[in-house]
């Protein structure tokens, strides 16, 4: 049956070519596996390039007192202790080695006076910890990994979208997808699959995410029976651009605050004094995002509904050197010179803390042979991610998932590709062309973004969340008759018909989890339950497919070993 499709065979198939996917691919290859890497865009364009401020690693180059223990404690505190402690520990312990490795592969970080990697301050980090390259650290990371991977011999399938994972009984057998360019279908045979597809930011109206972030990987894993963890925790980055309209949501790096930027309201007050007098602008993202949102809601916002972020008290040359892309971004897109005046900023949907539930050591999901790493996976960040912990997450757990996926592929038999599953996957993709009277997907997408923005945003309540669930049911019905126009050649409207299904499905997982968690913790703020709740503080939300139902259950947060409890208890 598979003979009718273009078919490629690998030991390990990696879906997604951002930092996590590339790092996993390099590692799986180093273990001797034949590796295929599939990505929706051209290689090197994944959203990792938008990570600006830096990669967190307790190297102690600037603040000598820093060590993994402090990084671990900061990460757990930032995540309001919902984190998977073992992931937080491994991450803090291994990040410095992963950064050194990037340097050995050709990355060029900014330097200290004595020739080491320079580190800067960031929200929620006790010490200066973020290794960086101006404000384009993500680009440095992705380019380094991309060149390394290509030179080592990874097979890359660019502009290819996976729409279905194929199982043989309990085993992962492969994946089905289409080439974006020609619209032809393609099948991958693999014994291990690593999902590294990022998040779901494109389901919100104001977002820093690009078109790619439509929850594909989370949806694929869910449909295959994997558990999703803590889906209510969606990070709104405090500082996105708010004006002009076309650039709304584009990220303004936290490095502006890391380099000494201040936040003020329209009365000239440094309002963070009210919300976190100790850490001020370098408080955690959940706190700063809520503070800006509250200032605007209470009438103290800027002309275009944001807050003023100012770095112009620093010398102009310093700003241009340390924040070059911010300087150009504001100059070219908003007619603002950040060396002389303030930026207008407001919260923007940025990152998904929740995702595929994985084993800390291996990144394996609850489905054998299916792995996840990076934003698509969950556990490390708990209820709120610290800035800089994302790039380090990618390389620490990308490497681990790559190792484990290669190892798994070496000890299991290949599964058979079931013709029926493939045919169903093809039918699903062709259906939008057969409809003549349905809606085009863009309108449904706009409405979905509006719904998630207004009902499942920074502040939530029971009534809004219930309403959102009702709306999501309507979107599912609208998707049944969504249609595509034109041919299968590079057709973004057709592609969106499929991406929307993942977005609606995973938006439902977010909404159900948000409804269940009757407390406010980290990035999840319930107006009707404004406080931390001790019972909820010991529980993770799990979403899993049971038959045709999306089931939600609670699972106790794993208890920490005593030596880690001691680290958390230290009052630093």
């Amino acid at each position: 049956m598979t003979s009718s499709y273009e078919t490629h065979e690998h030991d390990v198939l990696i879906i997604g070519a951002g930092g996590a996917g590339l790092r996993a691919a390099i590692e799986a290859l180093a273990q001797g596996a034949r590796v295929g890497l599939v990505c929706k865009s051209l290689l090197g364009k994944a959203h990792t390039v938008m990570a600006e401020g830096g990669i967190a690693a307790a190297m102690g180059n600037v603040d000598k007192a820093d060590d993994w223990r402090t990084h671990f404690r900061d990460t757990m505190r930032g995540g309001k202790f919902l984190n998977n402690w073992r992931m937080a520990q491994l991450h803090a312990q291994e990040a410095p080695e992963r950064v050194r490795e990037l340097e050995h592969w050709g990355a060029l970080f900014d330097r200290t006076e004595d020739g080491q990697i320079l580190q800067r301050a960031f929200g929620g980090h006790t010490f200066k910890r973020l290794c960086h390259v101006g404000d384009r650290t993500g680009l440095e990371l992705i380019r380094t990994l991309q060149d390394r991977g290509v030179q080592q011999g990874i097979d890359v399938y660019m502009e290819c979208t996976i729409t279905r994972l194929i199982r043989d009984g309990d085993r992962i057998a492969g994946a089905f997808g289409y080439w974006r360019e020609q619209g032809r279908f393609v099948v991958f045979k693999a014994r291990s699959i690593v999902i590294a597809t990022g998040g779901i930011g494109k389901a919100w109206k104001v977002t820093s995410n690009s078109w790619e972030y439509t929850a594909d990987g989370m949806a694929l894993a869910y449909e295959t029976g994997a558990e999703l963890l803590d889906m209510e925790f969606v990070q709104f980055h405090p500082t996105g651009m708010v004006w002009p309209p076309g650039v709304q949501g584009i990220l303004v790096t936290e490095a502006v605050r890391g380099e000494g930027g201040t936040l003020k309201n329209n009365r000239g007050e440094r309002f963070m004094e009210k919300y976190d007098p100790k850490r001020m602008e370098l408080s955690t993202r959940d706190v700063v995002a809520r503070a800006i949102y509250t200032e605007v809601r209470e009438g103290r916002g800027t002309e275009h509904g944001g807050a003023y972020l100012n770095i112009s008290h620093k010398p102009a040359d310093y700003v241009k050197k340390k924040l070059p892309s911010m300087y150009h971004q504001f100059k070219e897109l908003a007619d603002v010179d950040i060396t002389t005046g303030p930026m207008e900023v407001g919260p923007t949907c940025h990152y998904m803390m929740g995702g595929i539930r994985v084993d800390a050591e291996t990144g394996q999901s609850t489905v054998p042979g299916l792995f996840a790493a990076g934003e698509a996976a969950a556990g490390l960040h708990g209820a709120n991610r610290l800035g800089g912990n994302s790039l380090s997450d990618l390389v620490v757990f990308g490497k681990r998932a790559g190792t484990a996926a290669a190892e798994h592929s070496s000890r299991v038999q290949s599964g058979a590709l079931d013709a029926e599953q493939l045919e169903e996957a093809e039918r699903e993709m062709l259906a939008p062309f057969e409809r003549t009277d349905g809606e085009f997907p863009y309108e449904i997408h706009r409405d979905l973004q509006e719904t998630m923005h207004s009902l499942v945003g920074i502040f939530r309540n029971e009534e809004d969340l219930q309403k959102a669930l009702g709306e999501l049911e309507k979107f599912k019905r609208r998707l049944e008759s969504v249609r595509a126009d034109g041919s299968r050649m590079f057709n973004p409207g057709w592609h969106l018909t499929r991406d929307l299904r993942s977005m609606v499905l995973i938006s439902e997982a977010v909404t159900r989890s948000a409804l269940a968690r009757r407390e406010s913790r980290g990035a999840h703020s319930r107006i009707d339950y404004p406080n931390l709740d001790d019972t909820w503080g010991k529980q993770n939300n799990i979403i899993v497919k049971r038959g045709d139902t999306m089931a939600l259950e609670q699972r106790p947060v794993a208890d920490l070993p005593d030596e880690l409890k001691e680290i958390l208890a230290e009052n630093k």
Binding site: W105, R143, V150, S210, P244, E332, L496
Partner: protein
Amino acid sequence: MAEAILRVFRGGPEGGKPVDYRVPVAPGMVVLDALHSIQGHQSPDLAVRWNCKAGKCGSCSAEVNGRPRLTCKSRLDALPLDEPITVSPLKAFPLIKDLVTDVSWNYKINKMIPAFQPRAGVEWKMYQRDVDRVQEFRKCIECFLCQDVCHVLRDHAKHESFGGPRFFVRTACLEMHPLDGVSRTKLLKDELGLGLCNITKCCTEVCPEEIHITDNAIIPLKERVVDEFYDPITMLVRKIRGA
């Protein structure tokens, strides 16, 4: 509300033509916003590449009013709106559909360049003054606008014998890495055709990252090639040694 007319190339390798679309103009709008508006309201199958929409990924390259540009950084209010804004695909690469071209050739060239290889026994210490010039090259977002504008590729289609400005920048980046121990000068001379560049600086002019491609990458590389292969003293020594 003000309107702009976008004259967008529609079609594929077998043929196509510019099609006019009227698009409402909002403050600060860029050409990519206008293309998205066309996709969202008029023509859902319009093929466009884009990702970050912030000038950091280099996906949305096209020719706006004949000039190679990132559409995400091309403000409508900087263009004359009393006439149609033309948006066409990059000319130096084979067309796939509408504004999307086949840029895979660039990835093939990239693969020819030997990776960073530290010299044996190096101490992993580098100073800012030593990495500054390489960091300039590493700003490259691979938008391929420099490749598109370069007449060696655009007009003479020397894709078989010429690497193009992007890959001179990439090679310079490796050659000038303070700890790198590999020489790529022979590759530059024989495979990447560095000599074909006659330093007209068109690439530097279109670079959205403002990398001084010609002055800081290409000319120093040309000097290295000359020093190694055409230096009269070296040539004499080679002759005597029979090399």
